[in-house]
Amino acid sequence: MSKEIIKIQDLKREFTMGSETVHALRGISFDIKEGEFVTIMGSSGSGKSTMLNILGCLDQPTSGTYEIDGVKMKDLSRNQLATIRNEKIGFIFQSYNLLARTSALENVELPLLYNSKVSTEERRTRAIKALEMVGLSDRMDHTPSELSGGQQQRVAIARSLVNNPVMILADEATGNLDTRTSYEIMSLFQELNKKGITITFVTHEPDIATFSSRTIVLKDGDIIQDYNNENVQSAAAELAKLPKQDH
């Protein structure tokens, strides 16, 4: 059995809004193993975003335990959380969040700038390697405004890979893209997953879930479904089935 990267036990998160207490997560437990491709599904208000924030070490649970790569996420300071985000997690966002007027290469280098263990030369080499992995080795000097949406998301994926994280955390990563580009991105995710990279993909689109190996469905702060996908679709194959577009 491969080892567990994420261990979540009876996780609760409550928010106080005025006099009312909102239970965003009501005691959730699950594990994610190394090499898994998990989609977390749910409609808005299901606790999906809260789950994502906690998984991404941007937020801390009210109670319960969350362990990432053997580190217990309890009573850690803002700075310690920042270090964990820097070394263990790769973030991908719906709106790419690239730095404007900054080249693809420099965007990819960004997480390593905050890691003092990485030298300038190593930073550059790793960023180039990451861009090659997402197929953008010929676009390194382009700024985001010179890239298409799909290419921008590829840069963001390269950025999430550059620090060799234990897990990539994607938040609606295909939400801003058309179907064709979505499938292209999903096929890239599948390729990366085949190389052994653990991916957690938060989405509300059911067809995205068919490309992952496991799906967790949230509703009103509880897990209502957690199943392994017996029939994983190949995004590359789906892409081929799409009608050809005239450019």
Binding site: N79, F93, L99, T102, S119
Partner: protein, 406 residues
Amino acid sequence: MRVLNLFKIATKAIILNKTRTLLTMLGIIIGVASVIAMLAIGEGSKESIRTTISAMGSNMITIQPGADSRGPARGSGGDVQTLTLENYETIKEQSDLISYITPVVNGSGQIINGSNNWPSSIYGVNPEYLDIKVVGLKSGSMFTDAEVKSASKVAVIGQTVVENVFPDGQEPVGQMIRFNNIPFKVIGVLEEKGENTFGQDQDDVVIAPYTTVQKRILAIDHLNQIIASAISEDDAPAAVEQISNILRTEHKLLDSEEDDFSVRSMEELISTFSSTSEMLTILLVAVASISLLIGGIGIMNIMYVSVKERTKEIGLRMAVGAKGADILMQFLIEAILISITGGLLGVLLGLAATVFIEEFLNWPTSVALYSIVISFAVCAVTGIFFGWYPARKASALDPITALRYE
């Protein structure tokens, strides 16, 4: 390593916003430049006063009859007759802090040479006068002590007098002139000294033995002034003190009585005039400092907007691992870089302005090193001070909220 990276990030942000950064810097640039230029003008005028006064003899001590009535309307003391030749002799005998001393009697009148005439002043002195005033002779010689004793009718004249009384370029030495109808033989010409700070022509003088002037021209037996020269500039204050004591004893003044004379050194004169120009300098610098302050507020303003504008970017940086301190440093470095670059440009502009003022307005200027150091230091502090608040605000952002910020 880490700080170096933050430095790179901050530089990048500045380069990406060239126009805005330059406009932000403008306040600082103008502030620093005006501080430097204003101080240069202030220092320049102070220095020019000092040099002209020094040229008049910086060790010089002036003893005048009448109580000290310093102020805007200073009495001439001419009609007070408390200074006598005996006073002069006593001081000369008793004071060990002076090197030269001369009695002075002076009056004005008309100088005539044939058909040329010119109104001027005559100073009756002894030969030590030249040493006290630090003037040399252009031609001829000074009168001697023997000529003083015998009250000879000889005179040494200044350049302005030469030009007006001998307009044909005649050699004045050996010629006869008349001062208020008394014939004098010209035996020497003074070196040119030009105008002093107060616009007085120092070359418009006739110098003659004090005995001659006392008896033949003014018909008085008191003195208008005694001037002396302290051994050194440092001894001048002590010499002033000593002379005062000698004169108080001589004049038999009780402790309760005020001096009926005044003794002043050049140093005091310098400080009187310097304080006026210092006042002006303070005023100018105050105005310039306000513009520097406004420059600082400009930086705060822009940094504040910049933090707001880049909230999402800050969120992203935090998500990929930037700590609060990293964000704080990034924005602080940015503010400091802006103010220091602005400061540097300001120094250059200030120096250029100073050269301009000197060349085209003919004002004396002197760039003091301290003005550059101070304005530059103020600049760096301004950057830290006004950059701190927005940077602090940026570092305290919650990454989740910042990421969702639109």
